[in-house]
Amino acid sequence: MNGNGTPSADARVRVLRVGERALLVELEGGAEAEAFHAEVLRRRAAGALPGVREVVPAARTVLLDGVTDPDRLAAELPGWEVGPLSARAGRVVEVPVRYDGPDLAEVAACWGVSVEEAVRIHTAAEFRVAFCGFAPGFGYLTGLGERYEVPRRATPRTAVPAGSVALAGPYTGVYPRSSPGGWQLIGTTDLVLWDTGRDPAALLSPGTRVRFTAERPGGGSRAGGGR
């Protein structure tokens, strides 16, 4: 990460063997994991990782499954020069949201701001899908910043409607389909997050950049979104 392949770079990457053919790369934090994931995808696209069938980013790890020579790759990985995550890289998806979620007022109170200001903060942020999980096409989006972390609900809801825009910890997520869930619901989008008849099936896949825009009740985007 610091450019010249200095020894200190090695300490930032821990490679763990996972069974016969997989490696789990543990990074220092979420931002490092996102940058490392982008580097893995770059190298795989360039044909440098033959056989690797799955690349699964998570909160602070990247899993590579289907590695043909795990010992060799495990030795190489800590020496990789990982470029900084480019703010310009990745597909951009705009998600129009009706900020009408039942937990919006509680989230605003948690942040110590008005509801209007909470919406402004959420629409002003630049998000990126750090990883997916929980359900097909459910992305964990980073970008709000530490001071806007919120706790999960003490009691999860048994059914969160599809299209719900929700917060938990440092993440924003959009429920691809109705499911139980413990995230704080701040709004709703009509976008279809997951459709196996579409290519790509997932609207939000790891590395996708996302902006939320405020939609007035009854349709139409509020111009500007705070920027």
């Binding site: 980013p57 990247v62 997916c132 929980f134 196996t196």
Partner: protein, 287 residues
């Protein structure tokens, strides 16, 4: 619906359509899925002249009954079980020609859990993300069979890989699972790692396509702090807070936050899928 199809007469406890799964989508939260005993699925396909990756039925415990609407070659394998065609005993583990309208009855497994039923031409439901497998965790692919479900079949006779009476190892009395420790074995006490390597576990009745749940000595953690969710692989031995290991099978979640003490060799997972509740399990650590 006429033509090449089979209708479900008796769905059994849980019968799903399976092929060799949909790899390559774990980063979207979609697991590979596919037949839990892939060697059995490949072999029944070869018996009827299909490509090994054609879609077959996977039954659970008590088989199923189907009525083909066309003359078709059928083979039943995997867990040994009685096979009947219109009430008459028919051969298990080999190709059987069945007339249109006959009822093929796959009986309760005498050993093992999951029988596989291949039809010439394969089950031709619409693939989802390149696979016809039912993924019970994500809800992808065709729903589990119900009475009256009609499944289309593909054109017969495209591939010929003749096999007739293949050797078929029965499910073992003791399920031996070779396990490579890690990635989170450092989160367990030396006593826990010793217990894993030396003590006997048993298959729990709560096992399913997602995981083989085990009863036995709980594995104590040396680090109790939370682990951030990380990617999971097939065969991962995840240890929830109760300390009882779960071996991840085909429909496992793609990420998880409980530590993985080790990973079972993929070659041993077919036998794991056939292990009935109560079966003794031994883990053998390997490099």
């Amino acid at each position: 619906m006429t033509g090449r199809a089979v209708a479900v007469v008796r769905p059994g406890a849980l019968t799903t359509v399976q092929d060799l799964g949909r790899p390559g989508y774990a980063h979207l939260g979609v697991v590979r899925s596919g037949a839990l005993d892939p060697a059995a699925a490949r072999l029944v396909n070869r018996l009827v002249g299909n490509a090994e990756g054609a879609a077959v039925l996977e039954t659970t415990v008590d088989g199923c009954a189907v009525r083909p609407r066309c003359a078709v070659t059928v083979a039943v394998g995997g867990a040994p079980c009685p096979v009947r065609v219109d009430g008459r005993p028919a051969a298990w583990g080999t190709a059987v020609r069945v007339a249109a309208g006959s009822v093929v009855e796959v009986g309760t497994a005498s050993r093992g859990l999951r029988a596989y039923v291949a039809f010439g031409g394969g089950i031709a439901v619409e693939p989802v993300l390149g696979s016809r497998s039912t993924d019970l965790l994500s809800g992808l692919g065709p729903a589990p069979l119900t009475r009256g479900t009609v499944l289309p079949l593909g054109a017969d006779g495209a591939v010929r890989t003749p096999v007739d009476a293949p050797p078929w190892p029965g499910p073992p009395d003791v399920l031996v699972l070779r396990v490579r420790l890690g990635p989170r074995d450092d989160r367990f006490t030396p006593g826990a790692l010793r217990a894993l390597a030396t003590r006997a576990y048993r298959v729990s009745p709560a096992s399913n396509r997602i995981g083989l749940r085990l009863e036995g000595p709980p594995l104590e953690r040396s680090v109790t702090g939370e682990l951030a969710s990380e990617g999971m692989v097939l065969g991962a031995v995840q240890v929830p807070p109760d300390g009882r290991p779960v071996v991840f099978l085909a429909d496992h979640p793609t990420t998880g936050g409980y530590p993985v003490v080790g990973v079972v060799r993929e070659a041993d997972l077919g036998a794991a899928a056939q292990a009935v509740p109560g079966t003794a399990v031994r883990f053998v650590p390997v490099r």
